[in-house]
């Protein structure tokens, strides 16, 4: 667990309440917590105070109850994965050498490093046979970002800090990387602090979302479904925007929805029961008569129409 206890950061020569003002927050172990908020609200500053790339002006950050100031900063950073938007792969080192950076700093033997690097490259879907010896310049943007993630995972840290890691990647590759991160998290179960200013990304990835406003003021700290269903302050409503309810549909699974029974022959348009209400809405809009069959394999589980969606979303 990472705990922010009345943490503030004032940059020298800057007036006002500070980049981060009196932030208190608990980040539970094994969860993805997303910091989301407008540009300049203090997300990056808050994140970098966790691994002491930035030192707080006041307040305490502790990891599992231990004040981070008691630890050697370099040793602390080696024990925390760190991924940034610009990635910062070492251009003169191969993919394998990049991934081996922290094991190297920690003096692992060569055999153990090789095994670990291969394991990680497999995990992120870049087969070592093809990719280990390449230089970063020989990778696509998405591949580079995956190497950045593998490099951060190298010594199996409990905590990962990710600052807009997918910010500079096109929407399709971005969605794939998000799905991969979720899949990876099923396997690795890290405590992940993820910064973004994209609310869709926050809602998709976060077990909890901290919506921040200027000075890293916590407007609301809640699971995404709750954030979308019950915005706590006008600032949250404003940030979530007009599409708040449509966004929320993506969090409601069809399995949990009370469907209408099939009446006569089932509608031609179908949606799989593994999907969400958002998928169902899309199908309803495509359907000639506004009704959609929810199918579970060959079986029709029920029917969805506009009324079902409206009732289920309330």
């Amino acid at each position: 667990m990472i705990t922010f206890d009345h943490v503030s950061k004032h940059y020298a020569g800057h007036d006002g309440p500070g980049a981060v003002h009196d932030l208190s927050l608990e980040i539970p172990s094994g969860e993805i917590v997303v910091f989301v908020g407008p540009s300049g609200c203090g997300k990056t500053t808050s994140l970098k105070m966790i691994n002491r790339l930035i030192e707080p002006t006041s307040g305490t950050i502790s990891i599992d109850g231990e004040d981070t100031r008691k630890r050697d900063p370099n040793e602390l950073r080696r024990s925390i994965g760190y991924v940034i938007q610009a990635i910062g792969l070492f251009p003169h080192r191969t993919v394998a050498e990049n991934v081996a950076t922290v094991p190297h700093l920690d003096h692992w033997d060569k055999q153990r490093i090789d095994t670990r690097v291969n394991e990680l490259l497999e995990l992120i879907g870049l087969p070592p046979r093809d990719y280990a010896k390449r230089l970063p310049a020989e990778l696509s943007g998405g591949e580079r970002q995956r190497v950045g993630v593998a490099r951060a995972l190298a010594v199996d840290p409990n905590i990962m800090l990710m600052d807009e890691p997918f910010g500079a990647i096109d929407p399709i590759a971005r969605e794939r990387l998000q799905n991969e991160l979720l899949r990876l998290q099923q396997v690795v179960r890290k405590t992940i602090v993820f910064v973004t200013h994209d609310i869709d990304e926050a809602v998709k990835l976060g077990d909890r979302v901290a919506l921040l406003s200027a000075g890293a003021k916590v407007e609301q700290y809640a699971p995404p479904a709750e954030l979308l269903a019950r915005p706590a302050t006008p600032a949250v409503t404003a940030f979530l925007g007009e599409a708040r309810l449509v966004r929320r549909l993506a969090l409601i699974h069809l399995r949990d929805v009370r469907l209408q029974p099939v009446n006569g022959s089932a509608p031609k348009t179908t949606v799989a029961i593994g999907g969400t209400l958002r998928d169902a809405l899309d199908a309803v809009l495509r359907s000639p008569d506004g009704t959609v069959a929810v199918v579970d394999g060959d079986r029709v589980a029920g029917v969805v129409d506009g009324t079902v969606i409206r009732l289920a979303s309330q």
Binding site: L53, R77, Y82, G88, H92, L105, P136
Partner: protein, 216 residues
């Protein structure tokens, strides 16, 4: 060409002069590299130090070599030593300047990633910044070498037995002047070109994956 006959006829004296010339250049460049790298790293780390160091090293190259060698010979004696020290002073500017520029040109994202992964300042320097700055540092080393190979001829005036000697000996003589001057100039040019080509090849070989940064 009579100059080549002249060189062949005078090989007994020219041979050792070429040797001395190479020796002086190698030692002065090694000295300047050792000091210049350190100064360049310091100059990249601290902006006031960088300003001071660049001002001083820039001033050094404006000193006339004839005067500098003469002045230095008062302290370190005649012969090779004042030339070596003086040439190292000239070589300091390109090496220091390029070391600083090469380090400062490293992408800040790479530095942030390195620090974020827990590299110490020394590890950051030796594993990331210097390796990435190598092409730019070598460009500085090249400039310094070419410069020093030529200026070393002036060392003859303070008694260094280098390729300045045939040129010096020819000055004021009435016959065979051109051959004697060329006998000094041709080997100097050959050494300069060879050194330049060698360092250029090294620079290319060591630039793997690094973004080319123009030497400033």
């Amino acid at each position: 060409m009579s100059v080549f006959r002249y060189i062949a006829d005078n090989w007994d004296t020219l041979g050792p002069q070429i040797e001395t010339h190479l020796f002086i250049v190698a030692i002065s460049i090694a000295l300047a590299a050792a000091i210049g790298l350190g100064l360049g790293v310091g100059a990249a780390r601290s902006s006031w130090f960088g300003t001071v160091v660049l001002a001083v090293t820039s001033t050094l190259v404006t000193l006339p070599s004839f005067a500098l060698f003469g002045l230095l010979s008062i302290w370190v004696g005649l012969g090779n030593p004042p030339v070596i020290v003086g040439l190292a002073m000239y070589a300091l500017l390109p090496i220091t300047r390029n070391t600083r520029a090469g380090i400062m040109a490293v992408d800040p994202a790479i530095v942030e990633a390195a620090r974020g992964m827990g590299m110490s300042g020394r590890q950051l320097l030796t594993r990331v910044e210097l390796p990435l700055a190598v092409p730019v540092i070598l460009a500085g080393l090249r400039q310094a070498t070419v410069l020093v190979v030529a200026i070393a001829t002036v060392g003859a005036t303070v008694g260094a037995n280098d390729l300045g000697q045939p040129i010096l000996a020819a000055i004021g003589r009435s016959t065979g002047t051109l051959d004697a001057v060329l006998a000094g100039i041709i080997p100097v040019a050959a050494i300069g070109i060879l050194a330049d080509l060698t360092l250029a090849a090294l620079q290319r070989a060591l630039s793997r994956g690094r973004v080319a940064v123009a030497a400033t």
